[in-house]
């Protein structure tokens, strides 16, 4: 069963007992899932259970070498979608991506369900 | 001595830096 990885995360992040929830505080850091993909098409969904008004989230896809003590999308090894303004990030460069209607904030927030799809070339 | 360093603040103990949301970003369209 795919869940959040206890041994592949920034130590300051808190995981729930069933490892399906993660909570962070202060600066951005990252947790990866227990399972990764290498080829083909894959999709996952997450629900934002709780999101205080002054907090932010970046979520997406990351390779093994992505820095865990930085937000997802910080380096060349990860790609993310930000809750604030719905910006997408890769290599620390943000670009407009989505503008869901949310009073005063844009992007996504508590209660939203987010879907992430990746399409990788099939192996020869 | 602190007068020689503009905007310098003398500390008695360590302070933890509070990162901004955009702390790690190079560009933000």
């Amino acid at each position: 069963k795919c869940s959040l990885a206890l041994h592949d995360r920034a130590p300051q992040l808190k995981l729930s007992d069933d490892r399906t929830c993660v909570t962070g505080e202060k600066g951005y850091s990252m947790v990866r899932a227990t399972h990764g993909v290498s080829h083909g098409s894959w999709y996952f969904e997450v629900t934002i259970k709780e999101k205080p008004s002054n907090s932010a989230l970046r979520i997406g896809w990351a390779q093994k070498l992505a820095n865990l003590q930085a937000p997802c999308g910080y380096d060349k090894f990860s790609y993310s979608w930000r809750s604030r303004k719905g910006t997408r990030f890769h290599d620390s460069i943000g670009k407009s991506y989505s503008r869901l209607v949310e009073p005063g904030t844009g992007g996504f927030t508590q209660g939203d369900v987010l879907g992430f799809y990746i399409n990788l070339p099939l192996l020869d | 001595w602190s007068a020689f360093a503009p905007d310098f603040k003398e500390l008695d103990e360590n302070v933890e830096y509070e990162e901004r949301e955009s702390e790690y970003d190079l560009e933000d369209e």
């Binding site: 820095n67 003590q69 | 001595w1 603040k9 008695d12 103990e13 360590n14 933890e16 830096y17």
Partner: protein
């Protein structure tokens, strides 16, 4: 341990009264002791802003672009003390290849602190120095310590 915690509690007051910043023959300003110090005595904490390791390079580039000298001290692989804009007198301690002080990371109350200790007995009026232990790099920084064991370069 308990002994270190007790000594640490008095460190602030001690370092403010026993140390002074003056011009240094090594480089710019240095930190000098006004009293005799015993070997292994706790002298001063290197205090500043605790930042995560990943912010180091960016801050260093920023300071260089502004012509500001960078004062940083690594705690461990995750965190660094940046004393460039916020800190105390410890930021003025110069490097020497033959130092009279050493640095240690103490954990007190769950928090990590960089503390400077006397490596040997230090006489009143001496400048305090420690070995910066910079990693080796291609672009060299000349060492100005003029000690007999000088390694010529900081890195």
């Amino acid at each position: 341990d308990t002994c270190s915690s007790t000594k640490y509690r008095h460190l602030k007051d001690f370092s403010k009264s026993a140390l002074v910043v003056k011009r240094s023959p090594i480089h710019g300003r240095g930190l000098y002791t006004l009293v005799d110090l015993n070997q292994s005595q706790m002298i001063i904490e290197y205090s500043g802003e605790i930042i995560r390791n990943e912010l180091c390079d960016r801050r260093e580039k920023f300071y260089e672009s502004k012509g500001i000298g960078c004062y940083m001290f690594r705690i461990d692989e995750f965190e660094v003390i940046d004393a460039t804009t916020k800190g105390n007198q410890a930021r003025f301690i110069n490097h020497s290849c033959e130092p009279n002080c050493i640095s240690r990371v103490l954990v007190i109350g769950g928090h990590k602190h960089i503390v400077i200790f006397a490596q040997r007995a230090i006489s009143r009026g001496e400048e305090l120095t420690y070995d910066y232990k910079f990693p080796k790099e291609d672009v060299k920084i000349k060492c100005l310590c003029k000690s007999s064991k000088c390694r010529r370069y900081l890195n």
